[in-house]
């Protein structure tokens, strides 16, 4: 177990270094920089930016350094937790990302929980009522659930929420709690605003996991040990929930590796549509503005989230299935 953890952590570090390299190159490669945009901005405001000033700025930000030098500069600072300065917003990246990444994590986790809590019972129902009308309906809904783009669902649900329920969308807190310190009331308030984005983010994964759950349960129900359980005289409910579902969870957890990127992607785009104060909107803004340190750091953090999620999934697998040994 310990060796497994150490090995996985080492691999994680390597992965993250690679990811940072790839994202650095990706984001740095295109011509033009945030500095150009900034200078344009100054010029547009009628400020006289001389070429000397430009040179000075370029030197200060190391714009014309070779790529490896820039990467090294950035990476050595990043290791100690300093991710640089946002060109565009004139703030340290740390401050900008700080709370947003937590909201992103929170929202993705909530969406994941939502997806599991819905997918398992629905998948079980669908599998145990195979080839009945409800099963057909669930099956078609799954397909549509995967087919509907998240941003569209966000728009439609937002429309319904604001139109029919009068819910304030696009915020995480009501006005009275926005700057209040954390309290139970604030938490409840957060939850009451969170359900909409969570449903939207989770729909895709829910549909997918329902499908996985149904297929696996059908598979498991044909296994000998399910008949063994029945031959003991156990009730159908126990047979399904204790003996069959437990075994069908294995592929479901394996599917987690596939749903996590979808969840994070969904979180990004839904936050943009709903204009939530999470990573999404700022990330895309940073990309468009070529605010590279900010963008890289976001991409890196989202990837780390994914890598950690995968590690947790592997550990969950070992917990659910005694045949899996962590070595």
């Amino acid at each position: 177990m310990v060796t497994f953890l150490i090995r996985r952590l080492l691999f994680m570090v390597v992965t993250i270094v690679f990811i940072s390299l790839i994202s650095f190159v990706l984001i740095e490669l295109p011509p033009g920089s945030a500095l150009d945009a900034k200078i344009q901005q100054f010029r547009a405001r009628g400020l006289n930016v001389t070429s000397d000033v430009v040179k000075g700025l370029e030197e200060r930000y190391g714009v014309n350094d070779p790529l490896y030098k820039k990467y090294w500069k950035w990476a050595s600072n990043a290791v100690v937790g300093d991710f640089g300065q946002s060109f565009f917003l004139d703030q340290p990246v740390n401050t900008l990302i700080g709370s947003r990444i937590w909201f992103s994590i929170g929202m993705s986790t909530a969406a994941l929980l939502f997806a599991w809590c819905v997918a398992i019972p629905v998948g079980v129902y669908s599998a145990t009522h195979r080839n009945t009308m409800p099963d057909y309906v669930i099956t078609v809904l799954q397909f549509v659930g995967v087919a509907i783009p998240e941003f569209l669902l966000a728009i439609v649900l937002m429309f319904i929420a604001s139109w029919y329920f009068g819910v304030e969308v696009g915020v995480l807190f009501s006005r009275e709690y926005r700057d209040a310190p954390w309290s139970l009331g604030k938490l409840m308030d957060l939850l009451s605003h969170l359900w909409l984005p969570v449903i939207v983010i989770g729909t895709h994964s829910t549909s997918w996991l329902t499908r996985v759950m149904r297929a696996n349960l059908l598979d498991v129900m044909g296994q000998q040990y399910v008949q063994t359980a029945r031959s003991k005289g156990l009730g159908e409910r126990v047979v399904i929930w204790k003996h069959a579902v437990r075994n069908a969870l294995h592929p479901l957890i394996m599917a987690l590796g596939g749903t996590l990127p979808a969840l994070i992607s969904g979180e990004v785009i839904v936050s943009i549509v709903l204009n939530l104060p999470t990573t999404g909107p700022l990330y895309v803004q940073a990309l468009i503005n070529k605010d590279m340190y900010l963008a890289i750091t976001f991409l890196l953090f989202l990837s780390v989230l994914l890598v950690v999620g995968n590690l947790l999934a592997d550990m969950a697998l070992a917990w659910v299935d005694p045949r899996v040994r962590l070595e």
Partner: protein
């Protein structure tokens, strides 16, 4: 829904004795999208109390389906469409199990408690997610006690009795950590944990090597005497039948064609199919160069319905105009043997006097009709 008796069926109950279970004219169909498969088509037999009945027959003749039908656990899309399964358990009034709802409490109280079952594949019969102890205690908690500590003690006891080494450690072991033989012992322990009246053993040793097989058979016999249960022992292996069983029922295409005490069946098989089956086992000391005989022809497709006796297309002694028109019934051949063949019974049920080939005798006509295997 369930035809209680069919006048056409002579049954094992004709042998007047104390049976734990009597299966009469059992019929099971699989309604697949490609057509209806009559997997069990009027099976009748009985298992005497405290004795072992072997069930033999070619692959696909419906042995497993019969066993599952007794448990009322026929897998989808199978349905029991007719017949009668009378269980005469201790501490329970005789009852036709088919009058119970397959999903009802009555049927569940029979499973595990009065009838236990062991499966062919020890590798897949135990749930990989739970410890052996947990899985055995689960049944005990259901039928014998509600005290978890007591249930664990009973589980430990039965694990000891099936001869597993260090049973207390096994309680907390997962199935994947055991060998096939150990798993099968654990499975036997599971099936016997509630001391059932009848054990359905569906090829319990097929997947094991010969030594392990012998050990498992020993364990089963010992526990049979201890508990005083009966066993329905499904197998392909006639050697195992000779070792284990008191009686044998031979099945062909969803029907019992012959039921007789072991020695009688081996010494003087009555049904042409049984005879062919006997000839197909290698004999120790028989001439090396002689080829093993194979039963002529092959099993008809599962969707085809053969008119008359199901075996007649392959039968060397087929009586034209009779065997391919009428179905023979399973009728008493003597005090403790039944056979379903027009060579032994007239269509009206009376014993056929003339023309019965001497049991065990290989008639010239039949020997020529039995094909030798093609040269490989």
């Amino acid at each position: 829904m369930v035809a209680m008796t069919s006048p056409a069926a002579g049954t094992a109950a004709d042998l007047d004795r104390d049976n734990v279970i009597d299966v009469r004219n059992l019929q099971v169909e699989f309604r697949t999208s490609l057509g209806v498969v009559r997997a069990v088509n009027g099976v009748s037999f009985g298992v005497a109390r405290g004795k072992t009945l072997g069930i033999v027959g070619e692959s696909g003749c419906g042995k497993s389906v019969t066993a599952f039908a007794i448990m009322q656990l026929v897998a989808n899309p199978g349905v029991i469409t007719g017949g009668e399964i009378v269980l005469r358990a201790r501490e329970k009034a005789p009852v036709n199990l088919l009058t119970y709802d397959p999903n009802g409490d009555d049927m569940r109280s029979v499973r595990g408690r009065h009838v236990g079952m062991i499966f062919q594949e020890p590798m897949t019969a135990l749930n990989p997610c739970y410890t052996i102890g947990n899985q055995i205690a689960e049944g005990i908690l259901l039928h014998r006690t509600s005290d978890p500590a007591k249930a664990d003690a009973m589980a430990l006891d039965i694990l000891t009795r099936v001869g597993l080494p260090s049973p207390s450690r096994l309680m907390t072991t997962y199935p994947h950590q055991l060998s096939g033989g150990m798993r099968q012992r654990a499975m036997i322990a599971l099936a016997l944990s509630c001391e059932p009246d009848l054990l359905l053993a569906d090829e319990p040793t097929t997947a094991l090597d010969v030594t392990t097989q012998a050990q498992i058979l020993d364990v089963m016999r010992e526990l049979q005497d201890d508990i005083g249960m009966s066993i329905m022992f499904v197998t392909h292996n006639l050697g195992v039948v000779a070792q284990m069983c008191d009686e044998v029922a031979v099945m062909y295409l969803g029907r019992v064609v012959e039921q007789a005490p072991v020695e009688e069946l081996f010494d003087s098989p009555r049904h042409p199919y049984t005879r062919a089956l006997m000839r197909s086992i290698p004999q120790l000391g028989a001439a090396r160069k002689g080829r093993l005989e194979v039963i002529q022809g092959s099993v008809p497709g599962q969707f085809t319905k053969v008119p008359g006796c199901a075996f007649h297309p392959r039968c060397p002694d087929m009586i034209p105009g009779l065997c391919d028109v009428q179905s023979p019934r399973l009728l008493a051949a003597n005090d403790d043997a039944l056979v379903s063949c027009f060579l032994h019974h007239e269509p009206d049920g009376s014993a056929r006097v003339s023309d019965v080939p001497t049991p065990g005798r290989v008639s010239p006509s039949s020997s020529s009709a039995i094909a030798t295997p093609p040269a490989s």
